[in-house]
């Protein structure tokens, strides 16, 4: 009879996760006793929790702890993505505070789930085991399924929820099946064990292994909304509450990219030739189709959804290019995109009104005169997404294309820039609407709540800072990436 020998408990390595989870529970409980109009209290508690978690994450810098039989790791890569993800959660909390204070809104559960998504993302970015990765993904996904349906007065919100859920579950099955085959082929689900199993080289050309890898990629591609697994994205983004759309568009991408990169570089480096080909195709498809489809969108959220598809394609270039340059590029891109897109959605939220419905591009007509601040901020975000210099988006694209060329993927770089030009088309459409068209006759000045203003200001500053002085984030990314390369 085997003796149970639990692995050494390393609470420090998972401290951020613990803090976030505990705060989630605290919010859940406190939420039961808090009246609707007091919901900012919950937001405050959540923010404190996330803040503490961020501190705990940063504290792990340079420690490189592998814990729980190698199931998780708290290295600098994790710290980077942890901070990014938690930052996204924090901003989403602030962004939601106005929205969550409304009548009949289950604020307690809302914040709880939001914090749990944070937990899920932390797990994803630290997972070194396919099973841990899977569970982290599910924590994130299930929270999001529910959050998507949170705008209860809108049928579209529910519709988005069920579409997201059904397709999410469907694609999860592929992932699970892929993990099963991977387990069969390598005998393990742990990254280092898989890598060791592949080292001998006997397995490398095994169809079963390759198929397993392909199936796993399908699961990831769905979450990253890469073409052709992206089709849920516009519908869900449009239907979900704007703050959740904002969160989904950046949070999911950040965490899943972290997990994907770790999986590919730590577990499957031997298969690089194979997965790089697949991702190469997916990147091209995503950049091309995402950008093209976005051109004629009339709803801002849908447009940003397609833009997100395309942006995921650009990020993928970093993964394909691999190497230090590729990883740096991906990390910077993720951070830049997170900041910019959150800001953009914050502006959309500012316009979308009480019912969260006014997200048509027409709503932006003449915004410059209705709210110069929102218009100015939105213009900066659009330019950043388009990759115009002095914004985060430019540096991100520079990094990515550089990585592509250094990695020998000139084709990706060229397609990337050409599709960027197409993208400019629709990003400019927003600027045209805001600055060059007159506002509706009946349009009134827009009241910007303090919470929204805070987000907009923070994201604008970050967008520009990352474009003008990118070194801070880059240094972090660089150090992390080089550490990762040691494994």
């Amino acid at each position: 009879m085997p003796v149970i020998t639990p692995p050494p408990v390393d609470l420090v390595a998972i401290l951020p996760l613990l803090i976030v989870s505990v705060s989630a529970m605290v919010v859940l409980i406190v939420g039961l006793f808090v009246r609707q109009e007091q919901s900012p209290v919950l937001a405050a508690i959540s923010l404190v929790g996330v803040g503490a978690a961020i501190v705990a994450t940063v504290a792990l810098w340079g420690q490189n702890r592998v814990a729980y039989s190698g199931a998780v790791v708290a290295d600098d890569f994790f710290v980077f993505f942890g901070v990014v993800c938690l930052g996204i959660v924090a901003l989403t909390i602030v962004l939601s505070s106005e929205f969550a204070a409304r009548e009949g809104f289950s604020a307690g559960e809302y914040y709880t789930l939001l914090l749990f998504t944070g937990a899920g993302m932390l797990v994803l970015s630290s997972a070194r085991d396919l099973i841990v990765l899977l569970i982290g993904l599910e924590v994130l996904s299930i929270s999001l399924y529910v959050l998507t349906g949170f705008a209860r007065e809108r049928l579209t919100s529910e519709e988005a929820a069920i579409k997201y859920f059904l397709l999410g579950a469907f694609s999860l099955s592929f992932l699970v099946y892929g993990i099963a085959l991977m387990y069969g082929a390598t005998g393990s689900t742990q990254f280092d064990a898989i890598a060791t199993a592949l080292q001998s080289g006997d397995l490398l050309r095994n169809p079963l292994l390759l198929a397993a890898c392909g199936l796993i990629l399908v699961g990831f591609a769905f979450k990253l909304s890469l073409v052709p697994f992206h089709m849920w994205t516009p519908d869900v983004y449009e239907g979900a509450p704007t703050s959740i759309t904002a969160f989904m568009s950046v949070g999911t991408k950040a965490a899943v990219f972290a997990a994907l990169l770790r999986l590919l570089t730590e577990a499957l480096p031997a298969l690089r030739g194979d997965w790089a080909n697949i991702l190469w195709g997916l990147a091209i498809l995503s950049m091309v189709l995402g950008n093209f489809a976005a051109v004629t969108q009339k709803n801002v959220k849908r447009m940003l959804a397609y833009s997100g598809v395309a942006q995921a394609g650009y990020m993928l270039i970093g993964v394909v290019a691999a190497g230090t340059a590729g990883r740096n590029a991906l990390m910077f891109y993720v951070a830049a995109y997170a900041v910019t897109n959150l800001g953009a959605f914050a502006v959309v939220q500012g316009l979308s009104g009480k019912t969260d419905e006014n997200t048509d591009v027409l709503e932006f007509d003449g915004l410059a005169s209705r709210s110069p601040v929102l218009a100015g901020a939105m213009a900066i975000f659009m330019l950043s997404l388009a990759g115009v210099p002095a914004t985060a988006g430019f540096m991100a694209k520079l990094y990515v294309f550089n990585a592509a060329i250094q990695g020998g993927y000139l084709d990706l770089a060229i397609i990337g820039v050409l599709t960027s030009a197409v993208a400019t088309f629709y990003y400019l459409k927003m600027i045209v609407a805001m600055y060059m068209r007159p506002a509706d006759a009946g349009a009134v000045a827009i009241r910007v709540p303090a919470s929204l203003a805070l987000i907009v200001v923070v994201t604008v500053i970050l967008t520009i800072q990352m474009g003008v002085l990118p070194s801070f984030q880059l240094n972090a990314a660089q150090a992390t990436a080089s550490l990762l390369a040691l494994h």
Partner: protein
């Protein structure tokens, strides 16, 4: 006593495929969801089969986790389905497409 491993694997592949077919074919979200359960089961069967042939227990433990995941999904999924279709005359995913281009 034991059938060879490929038999198990093929069986699970067949089950997995039937699940996929069901998901694509049926319009009833409940049956689509059941199809997903079928797919997960197929995956589980693969895990267990491999576990047996690898002589490693961890496959079984993983199945345990997958079941948990499935359960969690069922809870939330059914709740979503109920909340949408309770008020409707028909249970048909094709009926819900307000969101499209």
């Amino acid at each position: 006593m034991l059938a060879p491993l490929p038999y198990y694997l093929i069986l699970s592949a067949v089950l997995f495929t039937i699940g996929i077919f069901g998901f694509l074919f049926r319009k009833n979200p409940l049956i689509m969801f059941m199809s997903i359960e079928l797919m997960l089961n197929a995956a589980n069967l693969t895990f267990v089969s491999f576990a047996r042939y690898l002589g490693s227990l961890s496959g079984q433990v993983i199945v345990f986790f997958v079941m948990t995941i499935a359960a969690a999904e069922v809870v939330v999924g059914l709740a979503i389905i109920v909340s949408i279709f309770r008020a409707r005359a028909s249970i048909d995913v094709d009926e819900i497409h307000l969101l499209k281009d």
